[in-house]
Symmetry: C2
Subunit: 349 residues, 2 copies
C-alpha cells in the first residue's frame, strides 16, 4: 500500500502507475470526489494535517509520498514520528517550499541561478533595483503556475509591487536572458541509483505550462550539464523518487537553474507515451524500493496541456492517429484549469 498526499491529476496518474505494478494506493485529500480518489483503493478525506488520517497512513502504508510540494513540513515530521517511511524526505520538501532557501541550496552546490536578493519589505526592493532593469518579485513560499509573482519595473514600483504579491517575505530575481526553458526529469532510487529522462523544452503561456517537446534539440554539452545539475541535486538531497528541475538555457548554451519540484512534473507527462517506463511508474519504483526503469525516448513527443474547455475536443484528438489523449476526470472545466493533456508522437530524429 502506497500513501499519496494530494488527490489531483498527478496523484491520479501515480495511482494508475502503482496499480500496474500491483500496488494499492491510499489518497489523503481534503476535497471530496478528487481525480485520484476515483482510482485509489482508499481515500482519506481530511486536511493534510489531520492527525487521525496521518495515523492511518502511517499504520497502513508501506511508504508515503506526495503529489505536490506544499505539504507542511510538520506533516512529514509527524508521519515520520508515527513510523512512516516518507519519500522524498522532508529536507527536499522544506527547501523546495522556500525560494530563497532553494536558490541558496543550488548556489551551495555550485549550480548557477539567477542573481537574487531575499526581500522583507519595499525598501530592499527599491534599493536592489537598477534603472531599466526590471526584476521579478516572487513570494518565498507557495507560488505556482505564475501566481504570487510580479515584475517590478523600477525603484518607483517597489511599494506597489510589494502590495501586488501580498506583502509577504519574497525573493527578487534578476531577469535571466534565456533563449529556451528546459526541464530535466530524473529519479533516484533507495540505493542511490539515478536515471535521467531526455531533457524537455517547455513553452509557458500566462505562467502555465503549455507544451513540452522532448527530447529537446539541445547540444550535447547542454544535455550533459542539465543531467549533471539533476544528479548533483538528487545526491545532495539524498532524494528518493522523481524530481523535476526547471532550467533556463542562455544563448551560449549554458544553463541557469530556476527551481525544482520534489515530485512528478507536468513537463514529464510526455514520458507517459514516449518511454517504456514513464515518470509516474519511475516514481513508484523509486519510493517502493524497486529498481529504476529505462528512460530512453522511443519517440519525439509534443505534450500539450488541455486547459479549460480545450478537453471538449477529445473526439478529434482521439481520432488523430499518433495522438495519445489523457483526461483527468475533473468534474468542472474552468478557464485555465488543467483538464488533461495530449501527447503527439513523431519518429525520433
Amino acid at each position: 500500500m502506497i500513501g499519496v498526499l494530494g488527490g489531483g491529476q498527478l496523484g491520479r496518474m501515480l495511482t494508475l502507475a502503482a496499480a500496474r505494478l500491483g500496488f494499492d494506493v491510499t489518497i489523503l485529500e481534503p476535497e471530496s470526489d478528487s481525480p485520484a480518489s476515483r482510482v485509489a483503493a482508499r481515500t482519506l478525506e481530511a486536511p493534510y494535517d489531520d492527525i487521525e488520517a496521518l495515523k492511518t497512513l502511517a499504520a497502513t502504508c508501506d511508504v508515503v509520498t506526495f503529489e505536490f510540494e506544499n505539504v507542511p513540513a510538520a506533516v512529514v515530521e509527524r508521519l515520520e514520528t508515527l513510523g512512516a517511511l516518507a519519500a522524498p524526505g522532508k529536507r527536499a520538501l522544506a527547501i523546495a517550499q522556500d525560494r530563497v532557501d532553494e536558490k541558496t541550496f543550488f548556489q551551495g552546490l555550485g549550480i548557477l541561478t539567477a542573481h537574487f536578493v531575499a526581500v522583507d519589505g519595499p525598501e530592499v526592493i527599491a534599493r536592489s533595483l537598477k534603472r531599466d532593469e526590471p526584476m521579478l518579485l516572487k513570494t518565498r513560499r507557495e507560488g505556482y503556475d505564475g501566481k504570487g509573482q510580479t515584475w517590478v519595473e523600477g525603484p518607483g514600483d517597489a511599494e506597489a509591487a510589494w502590495t501586488r504579491i501580498g506583502r509577504k517575505p519574497a525573493i527578487l530575481e534578476a531577469r535571466v536572458p534565456f533563449v529556451r526553458e528546459l526541464s530535466v526529469i530524473a529519479a533516484r532510487s533507495r540505493t542511490g541509483e539515478i536515471a535521467c529522462y531526455p531533457v524537455g523544452e517547455n513553452r509557458h503561456e500566462n505562467g502555465v505550462l503549455r507544451t513540452t517537446v522532448a527530447p529537446a534539440r539541445i547540444s550535447d554539452a547542454t544535455r550533459v550539464e542539465a543531467e549533471a545539475i539533476a544528479r548533483k541535486t538528487l545526491d545532495a538531497l539524498d532524494y528518493v523518487g522523481v524530481i523535476g528541475v526547471e532550467l533556463f538555457e542562455l544563448a551560449d548554451g549554458s544553463l541557469r537553474v530556476n527551481e525544482f519540484a520534489p515530485r512528478v512534473h507536468n513537463s514529464g507527462h510526455w514520458t507517459l507515451d514516449g518511454c517504456e517506463v514513464d515518470q509516474f511508474e519511475q516514481h513508484v519504483r523509486a519510493v517502493a524500493g524497486w529498481p529504476l526503469g529505462k528512460t530512453e525516448a522511443l519517440a519525439e513527443v509534443e505534450m500539450t496541456n488541455l486547459l479549460g474547455f480545450e478537453a471538449d475536443a477529445w473526439k478529434a484528438l482521439a481520432a488523430e492517429p499518433d495522438a495519445r489523449v489523457w483526461l483527468y476526470g475533473k468534474r468542472e472545466a474552468r478557464a485555465g484549469r488543467k483538464m488533461g493533456h495530449v501527447n503527439r508522437l513523431r519518429p525520433l530524429r
Copy 2:
C-alpha cells in the same frame, strides 16, 4: 461512468485504461476485495444477477461491459430492459457461451472449424469415434483454461469420458493437426469501424496460455485470412468492443477457428506495451463511442503469464531493461493462478 461485470485482472486493466481517458468505472463483482475493485470509482459487491445491483448499473452507467463471457444471458437482457446500453451485445455473449452454437455460427459464415458433433450422451460419443483417431470432448458451456474438456481415446472410452466432463451436454471435436496456435485481437466501434491488431502466436501449457509472441511470424496470406475471419465475425455479430479469436494454423498456412472470446483477451496483453493504443483502451474507446486507435506494433513483444509464485520474481523482472511488468494485485498466489504478466520488447524485424 462505465459499468464492468467482473472484477478480475481484465476488469482491472479495463478500469486503468478507462481512467486514462477520464472515465469512472463501476465494477459488479460478487467477491470482495477484487483486483478491479481497488482501482474502480465504485464497486457493487453482489451476484451478477442481483436485481438491485443491475438497477444501479443501468441507472448510473452510460454503458455496461463485461470482462468475461459467462455472464448469464438473462443478466444482459435485464440490463437492456432497465435501459442500459450493453456492449458487446447479448447475441455475442450467447453464442460464445455455447461451443456448438459458436462453431455452427462460424460455419454459417463460411469460416472453417474442426469437424464436430453435438453430444448428449456416451452413445453419440462412441458412435462418432473412429479407431486410432482420438477426439476432444468439451462441455458445451462454461469451460475455460482447459477445464471441462478431455480427450476420448476410442469408442471404449466414451462412457468414462462422458463422466470425466461431468455428464453434461457437450461437443466432440476432431483433432486439428495444427502447427501453431494464433489469435487475432480486433475491435469494432459503434459506427462499424474495425481495427485488427497484428496476429499473435500463442503457446499453452496445461491448457493455460503461457506466452504470446506478436507480431506472429506468419505469411501475408495467413495474416490476411486471420483478419478476414475477425472482420466477418465482428460484422456478423454487429459487435461493439474488443474480441479475441483463437485460431489454429495448419502446415499449409490455412486456418481453422477454435473459438472467440467476446472480451479483451489474455493473448492481447502484449498490446499494453507493444502498441500506442492497447486492447483495453481500444475496448473502452469502442464501447464509449470513441474513434478506434492505432493497432500497429511498435515492437516485437513476448508476453509471458506469471503464474502462481512466478510473480515473486518481480524485482529481477523489473530490472530487465526491456521487460515491462504487470501485476494484478491478487492477495493470494495459488499454483497456476494468473498473478501478472511480463512483456519483453525487442525491435521489430
